[in-house]
Symmetry: C2
Subunit: 160 residues, 2 copies
Amino acid sequence: MGSISFEIHDHSVCTDKTMQEVDAYCETHKLQFTPIRRKVLTIMLEEHRAWGAYEILDRLRSEGQSAQPPVAYRALEFLVKHRFAHKIERLNAFIACTHPGQHHAPAFLICRSCEKVAEAHTEPSSGELGAAAEAIGFHIERTVIEAVGLCATCRDATTQ
Amino acid sequence: MGSISFEIHDHSVCTDKTMQEVDAYCETHKLQFTPIRRKVLTIMLEEHRAWGAYEILDRLRSEGQSAQPPVAYRALEFLVKHRFAHKIERLNAFIACTHPGQHHAPAFLICRSCEKVAEAHTEPSSGELGAAAEAIGFHIERTVIEAVGLCATCRDATTQ
DNA sequence: CCAGGCAACGTTATATCATTACATGGAGCG
DNA sequence: CGCTCCATGTAATGATATAACGTTGCCTGG
Ligand SMILES: [Zn+2]
Ligand SMILES: [Zn+2]
Ligand SMILES: [Zn+2]
Ligand SMILES: [Zn+2]
């Protein structure tokens, strides 16, 4: 559960833990966690929110990295493919995964006010969507589950 | 439930029923169901699939309608706003609603082979997403629930 | 050593999706 | 009529994403 995303917390723990897990996963699976890929993930780990590809690109540039669009998109493709990051379809943007390497079906809670995003997990075959699919023999391969709304903090702020 | 989307059926019934319901809804709610809006919905009703804005635009042009991008996007904005159509975020494309006017939270089953799309309904507050939201006091305003996979017909075709 | 294969990266150009901004026109109304 | 409102026409631009092709660096079989 990603409730931590909306709360004040020691975020360096999130960052360090993720990088360690990704490092270990790449070691185990013989994946090349190259400097560019590492840099992109590091940028995305700065905050629990979704990052546009061109926003990442700007960051790469500002850090001296040569950066045409494919540079960012290729790094993101790698990160998404191996589940170190996810694409938020609603936002056309990308977010670092909070459970890197684990094969999972993520669901997201997106606060439209503070823009923070929490990652939860689902069991695609269960629930209403799974039931609807089963009823008609539809085979689910990938799910997009995203909720937009207000986090507790932002809701409290607006109702006062 | 939208299982009918993947089956052979008398599709003129879908089209006629939808147009009647939209007509009635607009009458009741004093909405202007203008020729362009009607034309766009008619195009989308041709098939149970998602249509790109520029695809609709091309169709409008081929039918003699002047058509710059805002023409299509404005009609789509109207249709989506009043729940006569939905946007499929995964595809950056739009689909005619099968329950026009009813206030509902749609979910979609998208066949990656035949590209047909079925619309099901969910109760956002229920299920895993609703539980995750409730657990952290997140207030859901809108949900994006989409599944990509293979419909029964396409799956049967590939396993033979 | 060195040729060949391969994966990542550099770079240009282009494709695809969406919006801003401003002008025009017609319906309703005092 | 003069006004407002809403829909539409149109040009320009912005935002997101990919195609295509060349280069580099590493590994490996010969
Ligand atoms: Zn954190
Ligand atoms: Zn918030
Ligand atoms: Zn039909
Ligand atoms: Zn199919």
